[in-house]
């Protein structure tokens, strides 16, 4: 394992993208950072720019308007990048799968490494999902 990868495993930086979700997944991600769960203990930090990210946490069904932005975001991310589909909508569009403006789950457009199901996933689920992604490295 290269030194860079080893360092990455110690402290994965996460960028969070909402592609049309209802906010709840986003709140639960933030919840992980606050004192009850406090994932910063493990070096997990939410970053402000996709250029700093090691893991892309993407929630929500992909809407027509967001699709070009999502592709651009994925291209802008540094490699190696891990993509996590987050929530029921992120995995399979959930309740919105028949919506006329929903173009499909994100794995139709970008490669996805892990799925965290739930509506919304509980913080415990999120943490275990991230750990599984890191073990893949």
């Amino acid at each position: 394992m290269s030194l860079a990868l080893k360092a990455l495993k110690k402290s994965p930086w996460i960028f969070h993208v909402n592609t049309g979700a209802c906010n709840n997944c986003d709140i639960e991600i933030l919840d992980c950072l606050t004192p009850r769960f406090d994932v910063e203990r493990f070096g997990v930090v939410l970053v402000g720019s996709v250029r700093h990210a090691d893991v892309l946490l993407i929630s929500g069904p992909v809407t027509q308007n967001i699709l070009p932005r999502l592709k651009r975001l994925y291209e802008a991310a540094p490699r190696p990048i891990k993509v996590v589909a987050f929530g029921a909508c992120g995995c399979r569009c959930g309740i919105f799968r028949d919506g006329y403006n929903v173009v499909g789950p994100m794995d139709k457009f970008i490669p996805v490494d892990a799925y965290i199901p739930g509506c919304p996933p509980k913080p415990e689920t999120i943490i275990s999902g991230i750990v599984k992604v890191l073990n893949q490295l």
């Binding site: 909402n18 906010n23 720019s49 403006n101």
Partner: protein
């Protein structure tokens, strides 16, 4: 020299994608343009292809934070259409869950406002206080968010008798915590300097723009659906509508903090009144939905949520219209950011609540030579933090504000 600063459409921390374009002259904001509709999913059409009983699960997912208010307005619309009233016990349970939601939403906002100001301590503390509310909601409804408790004609789950004690215990600690937080906000000179007179939106403008919820009440515009058109148990409980007068960010924070006390009051009264009702009597069956129209409105944490349904006698709504408060409230940003600095713009757009979205990156385009400077979200937060630091230092030196 006029510059344009695009903010959006992604925000790395939370909330839905939105796009703001700030027009600036140096540091002053002189105009604003906004584009919404990034997360348009076609919910109204989807709901016209679901049965009356399935729709609450869908409208819950309009917004994750107001995930009780939308189904509430929807079931009221259906009940209005059918001309039925839910049993008393169901009314109280609805009231309790809705008010617990308001509490968690207001706590969430206070935390985020603290984060934008550069007070991460406030962020961490309020979110720690918020956790027990979610625990209680999980115990009462079965899920931390998306409670799925509403149903046309009543509620889906009864309030377990043994949970009542836990809810009361939670209210006691919350009251203490909220009191502490309110005092911390009202007494802090740095928060005063950062938020007083910033992002002012006055009463006349509120009427003009149709502002709703805490955004309107902070400017003294007296509007609260819970009191004006009481539904279910709201005419059986006593509470005050909190009003401030200045309409700046500070007043918006104070209104939300004081509303928390009112919510606690409402839940306490409901828990007392629910003892007289029969356990298990939580819903009536609606066999058939007659043709016609129905409306339902509820005061969500952010303002009035309005639902309209039309039926042709079938098992699905023929038309379902949703009107959320944020649409009105986002527009108020247009006026309230004028004359403020770029460092304050993030805070002001955050102050209306769901609506600070979105700063995946900020680019500054110079109209004269077309050069482009790209700032990240982190830069915008940093600008805000720097300003707070500056003011804090000034206070430490005894200089006061300016």
């Amino acid at each position: 020299m006029v510059k344009k600063i695009p903010i959006g459409p992604f925000h790395p921390i939370l909330e839905e994608p939105e796009f703001f374009e700030l027009h600036v002259d140096g540091e002053r904001v002189i105009g604003m343009d906004m584009t919404i509709g990034w997360s348009h999913r076609g919910i109204e059409l989807l709901s016209e292809h679901k049965t009356w009983d399935q729709v609450p699960f869908l409208v819950e997912r309009v917004c994750g934070i107001c995930s009780c208010s939308h189904p509430y307005a929807y079931v009221k619309a259906v009940e209005d259409l059918c001309g039925v009233e839910p049993p008393l016990r169901a009314q109280f349970i609805r009231c309790i869950v809705a008010e617990l939601e308001r509490l968690h939403s207001h706590f969430l906002w206070t935390g985020l406002a603290g984060h934008f100001l550069g007070y991460n301590t406030v962020f961490m503390w309020t979110w720690r206080f918020r956790e027990p509310i979610l625990d209680v909601l999980e115990a009462v409804t079965g899920n931390r968010n998306h409670y799925a408790v509403m149903k046309p004609g009543g509620v889906r789950r009864d309030l377990p008798q043994e949970e009542i004690g836990n809810v009361l215990k939670l209210l006691d600690t919350l009251e203490k915590n909220n009191d502490m937080l309110t005092k911390a906000i009202v007494d802090d000179p740095v928060i005063h300097a950062r938020t007083k007179g910033v992002g002012v939106f006055n009463k006349a403008q509120c009427r003009l723009y149709g502002a709703l919820g805490p955004t309107a009440r902070s400017a003294g515009y007296d509007v609260d659906i819970r009191r004006d058109h009481p539904i279910d148990a709201y005419d059986k409980v006593k509470f005050n509508v909190i009003l401030c007068e200045h309409g700046d960010v500070f007043d918006k924070a104070v209104v939300r903090q004081l509303e928390n006390f009112e919510s606690i009051k409402i839940i306490r009264q409901c828990l007392k009144l629910i003892e007289d009702t029969k356990p298990g009597d939580i819903s009536i069956e609606i066999k058939e939905v007659p043709p016609g129209e129905g409306i339902g409105a509820y005061e969500a944490p952010r303002g009035e949520v309005f639902h309209y349904v039309r039926s042709n006698g079938g098992n699905m709504p023929m038309r379902h219209k949703v009107r959320a408060p944020s649409f009105n409230n986002i527009l108020t940003n247009e006026l309230s950011v004028l004359g403020n600095t770029v460092a304050d713009a993030g805070l002001i757009t955050a102050a209306v609540d769901p609506c600070y979205s979105c700063t995946e990156r900020v680019g500054i385009v110079d109209r004269r030579d077309g050069t482009r400077r790209v700032l990240t979200e982190a830069d915008l937060v940093r600008l805000s933090h720097e300003k707070t630091e500056l003011i804090r230092k000034r206070f430490a030196e005894g200089g006061g504000n300016r």
